[in-house]
């Protein structure tokens, strides 16, 4: 048999290799090296971290190819990059650059207010955000090979990450416990493909790897998400907007591995310097929240 590339198994498989790990946002090759040295399992190449996108406003787009290529050259771990929701040409460009994963991300300004990218057409795998199970399964239906709960990026406030992770996990528990005849109605209510709903019910988990994102800023935040039941964490602004990024990055990696060992969590949480300042999501005007982007 010939070698087959771009299969769903290899797309989903890379996400499986990232499990139990931390994916870090980086804006320069130097950041990328600090992240790799700290034990990141992958990096997200960006021009601005979400906290700066929030602060500066304007339209946030795919990063410049030369920046992404420099970051790919700097490290041996997988490199992800973001495309705007629905912007399949940005995704084509990122695939041509050879990035290892594309994040079709609400952190960038959406290019389409109804449709996401048809991700089955690509050889490169995609990760997409969700706030609930229906959104996750719609993205998987379009071809996403990895999911992350959205949280509220660039805030350093973990509350939305917890809300979204708990929502997804609660919906899966309900799905598993309902009688067979209620499954179709459940699929209709959450707006998700019936076959994927059935698969989720049988597996007792999402059919692809599910990380947490959006607001994780401390080792305790990372361990909290892991104890809730996600497969790994994305840390965006939380590392390079803090006082001592290298130390904090290494501590979050350790906390993600030893998430259920409070003595180790206490040890790695010591002497980390200033965390990112953060913004309280509960007092944030609705118009500033980005998790609602995604259809």
């Amino acid at each position: 048999m010939e070698q087959q590339t771009g299969t769903f198994a290899v797309k989903k498989g890379l996400a499986q290799m990232l499990k139990g790990g931390v994916i870090m946002d980086v804006v320069t090759p130097e950041h990328a090296k600090i992240a790799e040295e700290a034990g990141a399992c992958a990096v997200m190449a960006l021009e601005r971290v979400p906290a700066d996108i929030r602060a500066e406003g304007g339209v946030a787009r795919m990063s410049a190819p030369e920046l992404i290529l420099k970051i790919m050259d700097a490290v041996s771990i997988p490199v992800m990059a973001k495309a705007r929701i629905g912007h399949f040409v940005e995704a084509q460009i990122l695939e041509a650059l050879g990035v290892d994963y594309i994040d079709e991300s609400e952190v960038l300004t959406p290019a389409d207010v109804e449709h996401h990218i048809y991700k089955h057409d690509f050889k490169v795998p995609f990760v997409c955000g969700c706030r609930n199970l229906g959104e996750a399964l719609r993205r998987i239906g379009e071809g996403a090979a990895m999911i992350r709960t959205k949280g509220e990026a660039g805030t350093g406030d973990v509350v939305e990450a917890v809300r979204h992770a708990r929502t997804v996990l609660d919906e899966i528990r309900r799905l598993q416990n309902m009688p067979e005849e209620e499954v179709m109605h459940f699929a209709k209510e959450i707006g998700a493909p019936y076959e994927l709903v059935k698969e989720t019910r049988e597996l007792g988990r999402m059919p692809v790897v599910n990380f947490a994102a959006g607001g994780i800023a401390t080792p305790a935040d990372a361990a909290l998400m892991m104890q809730l039941g996600v497969d790994g964490v994305f840390v965006g602004s939380g590392i390079f907007k803090s006082g001592d990024p290298a130390k904090r990055a290494a501590a979050i990696v350790k906390a993600t591995t030893h998430y259920s060992d409070p003595a180790i969590l206490a040890e790695v949480s010591k002497d980390l310097g200033e965390p990112m300042v953060g913004r309280n999501v509960s007092t944030m005007p609705e118009v500033e929240k980005i998790a609602g982007r995604g259809w």
């Binding site: 499986q16 499990k19 139990g20 790990g21 034990g39 041996s76 050889k123 490169v124």
Partner: protein, 192 residues
């Protein structure tokens, strides 16, 4: 028989599912004391730099070396890199197997692939003749084997993707991502 799976980072849960299917008792290994009562160990796929760094940080590096001198270890992908003597790059390596590996040897993720392999020792050990369907994710190749290490499997172009050295086993691919338990059975046959 009790088999540990190094659970610092990567797809350790997938290996545990395969071992469960074979009715083997398992344990997740995150600290040196978790190695104590094990008969064998699997080092899963993941990022070899992450797994290496965490092994050093939590005092597992020397205990893992000692374990591998006496007991069976199997490394898949990142685990194979971690078992090697040389990965042509500065990162923590256990150096238990006389193999040199090249990381990401097939290219980036878009070059990750699936392929069928003929692995004679595996077919003999499991009394089967179906080809082994292998999944390669940003996979390393085993550039060369030396000393006691033997080639177990090659691609049609001759590149080495599995090697064995006594009770130590290294594969570039991921048997834990398939439904085929034959490679896990083969590993268990090496566990004393």
């Amino acid at each position: 028989m009790k088999i540990g799976v190094l659970a610092l980072q990567g797809d350790f849960a997938e290996h545990i599912v395969m071992l469960d299917r074979l009715g083997v008792e398992t344990a997740e290994v995150r600290l040196p004391e978790h190695l104590d009562d094990l008969d064998g160990l699997i080092i899963p796929g993941g990022e070899s730099t992450t797994i290496g760094k965490l092994s050093v940080d939590f005092g597992l590096f020397e205990p893992l070396r000692d374990f591998g001198r006496a007991r069976a270890i199997w490394g898949t992908c990142a685990g194979a890199i971690f078992l090697s003597k040389d990965a042509r790059r500065d990162q923590p390596l256990l150096g238990l197997m006389d193999i040199t590996v090249e990381r990401n040897a097939f290219g980036r993720q878009v070059d990750s692939f699936e392929a069928d392999l003929d692995i004679e020792p595996l077919e003999l050990a499991t009394k089967t003749d179906a080809p082994y369907h292998a999944v390669f994710i940003r996979a390393p190749i085993i550039e060369s084997v030396s000393g006691e290490a033997k080639v177990l499997s090659v691609l049609p172009d001759g590149r080495i993707v599995a090697a064995q050295q006594g009770h130590l086993l290294a594969t570039s691919f991921h048997p834990e991502l398939t439904g085929d338990t034959r490679f896990h059975e083969y590993f268990l046959s090496l566990v004393k």
